[in-house]
């Protein structure tokens, strides 16, 4: 059983986190869905000459992974992603394990939306503790039925 918090159950200061290993497969698939075949992502010989020394992951892949962490915690109560502002501060390479930590900074009740707007600030860091992405986001979280439960298929 997975329980997903509703808008009212979330608290300012609460942290939502997740960790995932970024693989070669992520980079290759990201090239396809974003139609981004820039040399830094697909050409190892080119990338070897750069300061990174190898191909790097798309920044937008990492911001998507950060948003995915919110989905993991909020499930069906995440009903609208409103805004995301990010700064890219270091590269992510295939094989890096990145940790995302979001902290709730504000909540605004919006009864007409059947929930409220939750604002967060977050970071995504590599296994070496280097911050790769930092930023803020805002989304609509539903009142739901408190608590929302979902039976795992596994």
């Amino acid at each position: 059983m997975t329980q997903y918090p509703s808008f009212h159950q979330l608290e300012v200061g609460q942290q939502l986190s997740g960790r995932i290993t970024v693989t070669e497969a992520h980079i290759v698939l990201a090239c396809g869905i974003f139609a981004d075949f820039a040399p830094l992502h697909v050409d190892e010989e080119y990338a070897r000459q750069t300061r990174f020394g190898t191909r790097i992951a798309h920044g937008t892949l990492i911001t998507g992974i950060m948003a995915g962490v919110l989905s993991k915690h909020l499930g069906p109560n995440a009903v609208g992603y409103l805004e995301q502002n990010v700064r890219f501060t270091a590269p992510v390479l295939a094989g890096d394990t990145v940790s995302t930590v979001w902290e709730i900074t504000d909540k605004v009740d919006k009864p007409r939306l059947g929930g409220g707007i939750v604002t967060l600030r977050g970071t995504c860091s590599t296994q070496a503790g280097v911050t790769a992405v930092e930023g803020t986001s805002a989304l609509i979280v539903a009142y739901g039925t408190e608590p929302v439960t979902e039976t795992s298929s596994n």
Binding site: G18, I20, H26, L29, A30, G32, I33, F34, A35, D36, F37, A38, P39, L40, Y46, Q49, T50, R51, F52, I56, A57, H58, G59, T60, L61, I62, T63, G64, I65, A67, G68, V69, S71, K72, L74, G75, P76, A78, V79, G80, Y81, L82, E83, Q84, N85, V86, R87, F88, T89, A90, P91, V92, A132, V133
Partner: protein, 163 residues
């Protein structure tokens, strides 16, 4: 095609300059996006949940559309965009599988940076669907070089921020 030269792109980008790209998003984008982002929001994967919502069906994860916008910068400037520093995204309307999205970027401001043989450019962006509905407003900040695309970026500024 943007009409930009193979080199000297930073100098050629004037404030107000526009370029765009159009792409159709498919079920494949939705499925791969959910997989890549480990996204478990039912609105992205469960058609019955989507149909029961205000959206009337499944919708795309916002980062897919934001990613398309960002990549349009990288792929439209002849390899001169050598670092992506910052992006701000404001999601205005849902995007569904089979929507055709037009991304349009406009050069908003420039700041010369000699160490990059170019400078930092701020772009304002808009994404609209095939009905002309604005789905995303965004701002992007990128390092643009005047060097030809075959050149690897140098290591002039170890604190340069790339993604």
């Amino acid at each position: 095609m943007t009409g930009l030269p193979a080199e000297g792109v930073y100098d050629a980008l004037e404030v107000g300059y526009q370029f765009s790209r159009r792409i159709t998003l498919t079920e494949t984008h939705l499925l791969l996006g959910n997989t890549l982002f480990a996204d478990s929001v039912p609105l992205h994967s469960d058609e019955l949940t989507g149909q029961g919502s205000d959206y009337g069906g499944r919708i795309m994860p916002g980062p897919i559309v934001a990613g398309l916008a960002a990549v349009t910068l990288g792929m439209s400037l002849n390899g001169a965009a050598i670092g992506y520093l910052e992006q701000r995204e404001y999601f205005k309307a849902p995007v569904r599988p089979r929507d055709t999205i037009t991304v349009t970027w406009t050069v908003a401001s420039k700041a010369d940076k000699e160490r990059f043989h170019g400078g930092v450019v701020t772009f304002s962006g808009r994404c609209t669907n095939q009905h002309g509905v604005l789905v995303l407003e965004c701002l992007g900040v990128a390092i643009i070089t005047n060097r030809p695309p075959a050149s690897a970026p140098d290591d002039g500024d170890k604190k340069g921020q790339y993604a």
